[in-house]
Amino acid sequence: MSINRLTGGLIDHNAPVKFSFDGNTYEGRGGDTLASALLANGVRLMGRSFKYHRPRGVVTAGSEEPNALVQLRTGGRQEPNTRATTIELFNGLTAKSQNRLVSLKFDALGINDIFHNFLAAGFYYKTFMWPRAFWEKLYEPVIRNAAGLGNLSLEDDPDCYDKGFLHCDLLIVGAGPAGLAAALTAGRAGARVILAEEDFLLGGRFLAETGGLTDMSAADWLAVTQAELAAMDNVRIMPRTTVVGAYDHGIYGALERVADHVPIPESGRPRQIFWRIYAKQAVVCAGGIERPISFENNDRPGVMLAGAVRAYVNRWAVTPAQSVVVFTNNDDGHRTARDLIAKGVSVPAVIDVRVDACASAGDIEGTEVLAGAQIVDTKGRLGIKSVTIRLANGQTRVVPCCAVAVSGGWNPNLGLTCHQRGRPVWNDTIHAFVPGADLPVGQLVAGAANGVMSTHGALKSGAESAVQALANIGIDAHPAEIPRAEDAPLSITPFWHVKGAKRAWVDFQNDVTVKDIRLAHQEGFRSVEHLKRYTTLGMATDQGKTANLTGLAVMAELTGKTIPETGATIFRPPYTPVAMGALAGRAVGREFHPTRLTPSHKWAKEQGAEFVEVGNWLRAQYFPRSGETNWRQSVDREVLATRRSVGVCDVTTLGKIDVQGAHAATFLNKIYANGFGKLPVGKVRYGVMLREDGVAYDDGTAARLAEDHFVVTTTTANAVLVYRNMEFARQCLWPDLDVQLVSTTEAWAQYAVAGPNSRKVLQKIVDATFDISNDAFPFMACGEITVCGGLRARLFRISFSGELAYEIAVPTQYGDALMRRLIEEGAEYDITPYGTEALGVMRIEKGHAAGAELNGTTTASNLGLGRMVSKKKDCIGNTLSEREGMALDGAMALVGLKPTNGDIVLAGAHLMNLEGPVDAAHDQGYVTSAAYSPVVKSSIGLSLLKDGSNRMGETLRAISPLDGSDVLVQVVSAHFVDPDGGRLRD
């Protein structure tokens, strides 16, 4: 039986839920969280602390929880560092405690606690300095192993995550009293409203308190309000949704936990959705977070925040223990005592640091209020057994108890108000930071988040903020009438920590004590940002939500400054941890980026092609045939067959840009380094593009189909960049030119048909009205034709392989059919499909520069294209291509390499003189591309070599320390095949 279960609350007492924690099976109730269910079963010990491995229990009842972090689920669904306070219980839930060796009750690393004197703040900077080499190999791995949170399963997560986009007039963050009043106000005004609530129930503190409203029960008001909101089409209620970041211009990030509360998401549903919410206005009603008081051994299981204890008692009908003392500096602690007593839980004492506590809060029947008293120590290793109290008169008293409810006051929940670097300001009434004036654009704050701590105040400010927000965007609204509510002034005496304590915890999650802050102060780390980094105060999964202010207060005391003078650290998104999977959404694995398929993809797959990723494209790499056991056999065959007869290759992926307009030629003259003005209609020209700094960045062809119509091709890799740059030139540099651009890469399927028999194959499919004989359609001709009986097509007589070759383009939807037709018609010539490997081998054999040579460091002159750069016209990059240093004597030049002993030359190898040192200072150049040439019957390479054009015949060493290779190579012409280019023109 659940020993700490009470009656009432918002759980379903008739719905038992079985779950397991650390291998033990327990029973909770529908509506429980893991934390409430464990408490109900008398489990106070839920984890071990980060550094000292001290036994720890749950402290809060919400997402600010520093201690009760567990590993949820098993296998691929295992999730580390989940907060027991926010995990909704479901049947079959399994959870494990973290950061312990052996078991939670006996943690072998608990020895760290005995040596705590050596493990104070910054210990690793001091203790593990020597010997230096030990840090990486020994100290760091050991420390990392000992200090840490949960583990990853290292299995694939079987669930899917999604991203979504929402737009609204008003985003309301938090559905407590303020948020609900705001939602009613805005919903009734007809505004498009999103009401996001982190919890699975709406109501905020209403769910955790017994009082609140004076004329009706909060539960009734909640029911009526929710029903009205649910009936409004213009209001979207999003429970289980945490708004984690406030970004520029009213954009908010929100994580919806769609299926974290069920064992396995329903088929087709994501586990979580990361929403991007575009809000014209937002009202942050994120409530407040209670802060603890630090005292000696205040981290034992059973020490909890007083407001959290009320939440457990009133909402979840569970008490953390049968006997609870209260330690407080404000009236709120007294509420906890009253609620506990009302449920029959023993409260041996209310320890109130205020000497006038009774005057302020009154007596409480059933307990003793010890005004002016403080807790000076606690006992109980695995859970509180007693507290030692120093009474106002200086005497001490030991009070047995099993839990301590602590209240040091409430802090407005500032996160979202500060995500745009807004600085909070100090409020002397509530002794806390409240949002400053520099809120994110379009954001208002209401309720406790704005320092308004009464229920009446929260309701009123929620309604009024909604009116104000809607007025800002021209929507007329009237504040919803609010029920009469508690409106007591706050009575609090600031009190941060009990003086004289040896180890009083400030930050439970990072094991930061008052002593550590003293040490930081002593060593000069006094600014808040230094304090944070030296002690780790406020870091990790809870970001110090319950700890930061106490830390600042202690530092302020030490420096003699006020807290506002001491300042707060910067708040950054996310407000609570977000799984990487949710940020990635569906963009994982194969869907990480889009996959683009060429028109012949299906056909190539049928042929058994191997594919290679080229950017987003999948291209056929080679086409293995039966009997071929090695890719090289396939590639060599494809190269030789193409050079012997005819081959065909899908080159659709090359970028295509349609350039039209009266000034199209003038425009291309500015884009390309070489001239295009005089290119006749029906001709293609090779062109090279420079960056404005004079470095070559892309090459391709431009075909003139008409006086005012060109088709530009780019490399596959630069298709997007070239188009972008051309639009920049058109719109920003020469806006008067009559020229229009459109990317047609995906509109045309394009195939290279190469080899001595390529014309014969094409003549079988080009319609008879078009003469493509050598005379009528010579090298570098182009034209618009029809094929296969009337299908429009474009034909370009260009060659990348060095053979007689064409590229033929048809509208994409005919690409598959054209490929099949070419194969069919080419059968008599043994037409051979070839992939990117053979394409690469043939271009290396021919000595064409490609991406490996156009590598962002090479000029046109390095590539042997220097003469192409026109000096007679203005084009991008020509002025700076002429500056000193771009054309030095002895500059890099593109040359061919051939190993002298039949060795293999490797791309990336560096060239060194035969005699002389082998080091960077004597580097002669490097191999950019290399391949086995079945034509040369040797490994060959292209390289950039210092003064290369004057070193033909020289022998060098090609050294690749990475591969341990060192081979002798001879410098040769880059044109291994048909250096005169006769074949192109046949």
């Binding site: 954009i251 404005e692 639009e727 920049f728 920003c732 203005d874 020509n878 002025t879 500056r883």
Partner: protein
């Protein structure tokens, strides 16, 4: 961020590619005597203001307009977005 596109209204910055200072519109005259220096300054020297900055954004996942956006680098407040083509014409750019 949201960029107020002059033709399309507010669009998410994720649809755009950022280039940099709008001074890149002012490409120097290649025939001037000091062309090399002018191009050097044009290409390599930029102001890095803490405050208002006029800068070029390309609506690549949209209508392919280049825009000149005036943005405060401290607050990300955007006070204007114009078609770069109009700006270029105003600044006297022509063939």
């Amino acid at each position: 961020m949201l960029i107020p596109h002059p033709l399309l209204g507010p669009r998410d910055a994720a649809e755009f590619i950022y280039l940099g200072d709008a001074s890149l519109i002012d490409r120097p005259d290649w025939q001037s005597d000091t062309a090399a220096e002018a191009f050097h300054d044009y290409l390599y020297l930029r102001d890095n203001p803490a405050g208002e900055h006029r800068e070029l954004w390309f609506h690549e996942q949209g209508d392919r307009s280049w825009l000149v956006v005036t943005r405060n680098t401290l607050t990300h407040e955007i006070t204007s977005a114009e078609l770069a083509r109009d700006v270029a014409k105003e600044r006297g750019r022509s063939v």
